[in-house]
Amino acid sequence: MVKNIVTAISAIIIFIAGIIFERFYVTNSFNELDERLDATRSKIVSEISTEDDLLALQKFWIEKKHGLHVFLPHTEIKEIDMWIAEAVILVSQQNFDEAVQKIDVVIELCEQIPSSFRFKFENIF
């Protein structure tokens, strides 16, 4: 009886701690990425962005995604990889209009992915 209660409470504590940490880590990581994306987008819209800016953004994302692999389906991470990689190529070709579209998609993903961890009906079912 005592063993049951102790193990159940321990498991619940671990589980709750895990939920809180996951929520905090994912939201924080995407907020940071979102800030970087906004800055990069402004530069692309002003057509002053260089390939180095996008490569810096890509590098930042690569660092962040290591930890995110623990929490996110790897297909979603791959999707962001691809959109950023396309934006890098387009900026290197000075194709700013299309590069903005790619960055907009990444911004949208940065809003959508953390929301999939929220306690919502559509996320449960």
């Binding site: 049951n4 209660i5 159940a8 589980f15 623990v70 929490f71 996110l72 790897h74």
Partner: protein, 227 residues
Amino acid sequence: MLIIFLRTAIILILLMIVMRLMGKRQIGEMQPYEFIITLLIAEAACVPMSDVSIPLLYGIAAILAIFILHQIFSFLEQLGQGWKSAISGKPSLVIDTNGINFKELKKNNLDVEDLIESLRSTGNFSLDEVKFAILEANGKFSVINYPDSESNGELPLLLIDCGKIVNGNIKKIGKTKQDVIALANKKGINDIKNIEVMTIDGSGKIYLQEKNKIFTTFNIDSEDSKW
């Protein structure tokens, strides 16, 4: 390959720890919820183990959640008989001194053939040897025999099951449907639909139970009983 190996190792070790904490008994002795939990754990462990696009954490979280639920169920079971019955079910007395309790049998979605089969696995081949048979919550049968019961070494065959003649078994004993009906008539039963169960063994011993009546056994002419 290395990644799948590592994922499998992590899941396997976690499952072993969880199973040990659950104090797992043998598969056949599980309570219903424990059996469900075992199936769920297997599924939860399998998917992230083989699909590398799913984070391992998803499997770990699912197993941990199942473990928490198991502990909660175990705790509730210990709170009282009501909780225990609600979670694990309660034993059913399927055979008593009156014979087979068909109400309990139906409640457990069993028929006479299932009952006979289960009794055979407990070493009881004839229904009249059994004084009490209890279908436990874990699906096992517990049997108490009559003190003077002794097997005659013959295997009984089911002739009538819930008012329906079992044609295959009648053919085995070299008789016809009419012979069985005639035998029932001889016992004052005009409609075989009133017979819940009738068996015959190789020595000619008949086990007969009518609807809402106590069972009877009798012997018929040994010539008629050869099969």
